[in-house]
């Protein structure tokens, strides 16, 4: 009885080992693919002396007398005169962090224009979206044409099906 148990245990150990070694051989990696173009680095917020910071909560009494939920932060960048207000979070600490990051992004856009991180990210997003819409358009056009072909008759169907992808490609090339 006991020996039986040991045997099972040993077998399971061997099996376990085999499994783990198989996994290590497969080498699961998390590095990103090489062909993805690297994004520009997140811009650093400007030094604290370059902007003034105000916490907006209206005038009048504060402290225990009222119970404010506003934790808005307003930054004013002195050299450019850029003003921005952040009231996204309930936590002022988080709003301050976010405001500094947003200011850095805005300045980056002003300074580098289309090469800034925000612009590059936006461009990538736009491209992805446009290719997605193009794909879906193509798909639905083909479906529609297939439908039309079925209605006309089985003879024509093959022709239409072969023609459309090439036609689409051709039109892309011309663009």
């Amino acid at each position: 009885m006991l020996q039986e148990g040991f045997r099972i245990l040993r077998r399971s150990l061997v099996l376990d080992h085999a499994l783990t070694s198989y996994i290590t051989k497969c080498s699961i990696t998390t590095t990103s693919a090489k062909w993805v173009k690297k994004m520009p680095d997140r811009p650093k917020p400007p030094p604290e002396e370059e902007f003034t910071e105000v916490f907006l909560h209206g005038s009048g009494p504060g402290g225990q007398k009222i119970n404010k939920t506003s934790s808005a932060v307003q930054l004013k960048h002195l050299p450019t005169g850029l003003v921005l207000k952040v009231q996204e979070h309930r936590s002022r600490t988080q709003n301050r962090k976010l405001a500094r990051q947003m200011l850095a992004d805005r300045l980056d856009v002003m300074e580098r224009g289309t090469e800034s991180r925000v612009a590059v990210k936006g461009e990538v997003k736009r491209k992805k979206k446009s290719s997605a819409t193009k794909k879906s358009k193509r798909k639905y056009r083909r479906l529609e044409e297939e439908k039309a072909g079925e209605l006309e008759g089985p003879g024509d169907h093959d022709l239409v099906d072969e023609d459309t992808p090439e036609a689409a490609k051709g039109s892309e090339g011309r663009q």
Partner: protein
């Protein structure tokens, strides 16, 4: 309280049908928009809206329309990096204590670098007493900010309300489990402790031991009976505990002290005579009270130690070109005023132990 104009309610309704409800609680449109967004985030938690969640959201908006504080509805309030649990019966953590507590921690950390700020004997652990601790927010924030520089820091929180003490203990556990506070449960003695103590009573042996500390920080009740009826917002008046807002203690021997300043007189006594602490930070209600308390602190110091008094505004770190660091003269003594906004805290420092290169130093320059 003035009625909300129909035009404003209609405007709110056009943004969202739920907004007029929230507007009744907040009384201003921009903050209503923000609060409705937070309520929605609280209900949905990144899920898609369903009929059940919409019903729940409507229920919460109705609660807000009876001017119940948002923090009681959501059950929490961010405080620095921490998350403080809130529930009826205990005063909600405000942004002002967050500002001056952060500033105090900054000065303590800076001081040990010999730059400008406060300096303490580094061989002994730093001991802090947080009086009228409420949710425990000040104690917890101080620990989270100071533990790196002062690993042996010891903080005791006292409050008269058992409800507040139990909530403070819950908040301690909550922030440890969320990883905001670096405390091992086995740590002895525990770095943060909360006890139920009446600061006007006689202290027992254990309390006297805790009283011998380096820093006393306190956010006492400071609103007068009249101001409670006139100046406080409806949500504060209706929902928050009066015990934490209006001081109602009769003390013999405190002649000429206004009813709303009774706690400050006691605190100054504790600081100079009983605790012999090096630093006392007290939150105050407005500019007039700040000046009264500063005068009181200057009058009640012991002849053997000349304390210096400073006043911090709402944003002690903020600097405005026009309204920089100022000073006021009270009874022939100069009191430095730091930062921007309303006067919010009176700070008493003992030069025997603590020194600061800015602040009062600036006034003598």
């Amino acid at each position: 309280m003035p009625r909300l104009p129909h035009s404003l309610l209609l405007k709110a309704y056009n943004i969202s049908p739920l907004l007029p409800l929230v507007l009744q609680g907040t009384r201003s449109l921009p903050s209503a928009v923000n609060e409705l967004r937070w309520l929605r985030e609280h209900v949905l938690k990144r899920n898609k809206p369903t009929p059940t969640t919409q019903k729940e959201l409507l229920r919460l908006c109705k609660r807000r329309s009876y001017s119940e504080p948002l923090q009681y509805i959501l059950g929490s309030q961010p405080f620095g990096e921490l998350n403080i649990k809130c529930r009826p019966g205990v005063l909600i953590a405000r942004p002002e204590p967050e500002a001056y507590t952060t500033y105090l921690a900054k000065l303590l950390i800076k001081g040990s670098k010999g730059d400008r700020g406060f300096e303490f004997d580094e061989r002994k652990p730093l001991r802090i007493l947080d009086l009228c601790s409420g949710t425990g927010c000040i104690s917890l924030l101080l620990h989270s900010l100071l533990v790196k520089r002062f690993p042996g820091v010891q903080i005791n929180g006292w409050d008269i309300s058992p409800n507040a003490v139990s909530l403070a203990v819950e908040n301690l556990k909550r922030n440890i489990s969320k990883g905001h506070l670096k405390i091992q449960p086995s740590q002895k003695p525990p770095p943060i402790q909360f006890d139920q103590v009446d600061i006007f009573s006689r202290f027992n042996r254990g309390q006297k031991k805790q009283l011998h500390c380096d820093i006393i920080i306190c956010n006492p009740p400071y609103i007068s009976q009249k101001a409670f009826l006139q100046d406080t917002s409806r949500s504060v008046r209706k929902w928050e505990p009066r015990l934490a807002l209006v001081p109602e203690v009769e003390v013999e021997g405190y002649d000429g002290v206004k009813a709303e300043d009774v706690f400050y007189r006691r605190l100054i006594d504790l600081h100079t005579r009983f605790a012999r602490s090096k630093l006392l930070v007290m939150e105050v209600g407005d500019d007039a009270q700040a000046l009264r308390v500063a005068t009181m602190a200057l009058q009640n110091e012991l002849p053997s130690r000349r304390d210096t008094v400073e006043i911090w505004r709402d944003g002690p770190e903020l600097r405005n070109g026009l309204e920089g660091n100022g000073r006021v003269v009270l009874g022939g003594r100069v009191v430095g005023v730091k930062g921007m906004g309303n006067m919010r805290a009176v700070v008493v420092k003992s030069p025997d132990y603590v020194w600061s290169k800015d602040g009062v130093g600036q006034a003598s320059r």
